[in-house]
């Protein structure tokens, strides 16, 4: 037992030193990424959003952003009103205005970040893991594995994604976790197809045969020799999916599945705001622009990552 422990330990440090020696350390990667100003800006934005999500309770109390005060309904951005909260009247400035129940929009955005950021990130991570492994097996092994996995994927793809998600949430019950499972499941087929197609493209190239002929095993070939060659389609797919995931979560909330009011969620806020588009367009703009910014930031980070990871673009 202790022997295997030390063995794995030396292996990791061996690997770490190896990575340092080969110049593939983090600082070089960071320098590469830092050349892309937009990507750095986007990364900063995503980090700010994540921090806001983590410290949401310090900025606005949860009860405050979920309780109604109808006398302050539909205030314009910057207007202030008196809110009866904790059995007291408080003078409060609504920086981004208030919604139809008189709730602070900025406060709801801040708390909504928790849900939306997690959904965007977790669904992509889960579907990439599952879809990536299945796609890699299908593409690399071929034969019966391939047929079985791909036909199963075709079946999943034949159901419209949103319907599939609805069916899953309906079947598993309404909870945040199930919402993530549902959205991830609907994204998995896309990853399977992309990873499989890319692997098939790469696996017959001579360097893979060369790797096998110096004694590399299947796992090493897939992880070390093939995967780095197919990062760009995967990154593009993933960054686009972050946006879709937030939107799908919104659609499901709108249908009464997933995140239910009064719990704030960006997509949820967006769909509630549609009724007031004529009288209070700021209700729509606030969450809409936030979603737009997040998706855009993820896409730009993706572009930056892709360029930083491509050795041909290294200067």
């Amino acid at each position: 037992m202790s022997e295997t422990m030390t063995n794995t330990m030396t292996n990791t440090s061996k690997f770490a030193r190896f990575m340092r020696r080969t110049g593939k350390n983090f600082s070089q990667f960071w320098r590469q990424l830092a050349r892309n100003k937009l990507a750095v800006l986007s990364l900063a934005l995503v980090i700010v959003f994540a921090l806001v999500a983590i410290f949401a309770d310090l900025l606005y109390e949860y009860d405050f952003v979920t309780s109604n005060s109808l006398e302050n309904a539909l205030l314009k951005p910057g207007e202030s009103g008196v809110v009866y909260y904790h059995e007291k009247d408080i003078e409060h400035t609504f920086i981004l205005g208030s919604d139809n129940y008189g709730r602070d929009i900025l406060g709801r955005l801040v708390h909504g970040a928790r849900v939306s950021m997690i959904i965007g990130f977790a669904t992509v991570a889960i579907s990439f893991m599952v879809g990536g492994i299945l796609g890699a097996v299908a593409g690399y092994k071929g034969g019966l594995f391939d047929t079985f996995i791909m036909r199963a994927t075709d079946i999943l793809l034949s159901i419209p994604t949103i319907l599939l998600a609805i069916a899953i949430v309906a079947a598993l019950g309404n909870s945040f976790f199930n919402l993530i499972v549902a959205i991830s499941t609907s994204m998995i087929p896309g990853y399977i197809r992309i990873v499989r197609a890319s692997i098939i493209q790469v696996k017959d190239q001579e360097f893979v045969e060369a790797a096998r002929c110096i004694g590399a095993g299947d796992l090493r070939i897939v992880l070390k020799h093939i995967m780095p060659n197919i990062t760009s389609p995967i990154i593009v797919q993933s960054t686009l999916n972050v946006g879709s995931a937030i939107n799908w979560a919104a659609s499901l909330s709108f249908l009464g599945l997933g995140i239910l009011p009064p719990k704030p969620e960006w997509g949820n806020m967006l769909s509630e705001a549609r009724e007031f588009i004529q009288y209070a367009p700021h209700l729509l703009f606030a969450p809409g622009l936030t979603i737009l910014l997040t998706v855009l930031a993820y896409n730009l980070i993706g572009d930056g990552l892709r360029d930083a990871l491509d050795p041909k673009l290294k200067r």
């Binding site: 190896f18 020696r21 593939k24 360097f207 110096i214 004694g215």
Partner: protein, 327 residues
Amino acid sequence: MEKILEIRDLEVQYFSYRKVTKAINGLTLDLKAGKVLGLVGETGAGKTTLALSILNMIRSPQGKIMKGSISFSGKDVLGMSKQDLRDMRGKDVAMIFQDPMTALNPVLTVGEQIAETVMKHEGLSGEESWKKAEKMLETVGIPADRAKEYPHQFSGGMKQRVVIALALACNPKLLLADEPTTALDVTIQAQVLDLMRTLIRDNGTSVLFITHSLGLVAENCDEVATMYAGEIVEYGSIDQVFGGPLHPYTKGLFGSLPDLSEITDRLKPIPGLMPDPTALPEGCFFSPRCPHAMDICAKKHPVDIDLGGHRVKCHLYTAETGARSQA
């Protein structure tokens, strides 16, 4: 002399829809330790398939080794376990691929690719194997600090040298060089061959040198085997084969080279094409193209005839008398 590689009666076939491609047909070949054996033959003769068979890397289910045996320093390659095969590949038997442009992984630095092999086969630490990789690169004339660069930053000739460094990194006992210079231009060819010769001599590596250039064979090899339609039709030392080729096919190959001592308008190619490997002729595979074909050639497949170490597969010769008839 000790034999490092013994191939007996090897048969490899590829299967496609309703067709069977007979790539190698009853091939028997020996390679003596420390020698360089040149394997010449046209495109499609099965040269690369032979090299892959030696590593037991014929891709299933399309390809299959039907029968025969390959033994590498006494060990049965075709019966080895997966793990033993992986240990053998790269360490004991290494291969140089035809095209250096595609044989290197574009997203890994060349140093990493060499160090990976060394780390796996020699059990060195990351740092040691990296140093070894740098040393190997220097051996092939590439500055050590370029180990951190990616394949696209090298020229074709340098890439092939990287591939050679990679193949020789673990001091293999047997090197399979599959047309190592075909993708390079002539000046670089000479450089690369020179380098290979030095490294091979220094390490005492045995080499199977696959090529279709007789000139390269004459310059680099100790022995030569002519391959046609998946079998060895003639085998002998360089002096024997270049001094007096026996098989009409080998003669044809020599005949299709330009002769500097006479004025010629046209070269004399061998008429016809290689037989379709999905429908090989009965009897001798070369008989439809052979200028000396006799009745028996179309009916009976010739057997190996040993004439003092110079072996030939042709009905023109018999074991007792040497030449039966020189038509």
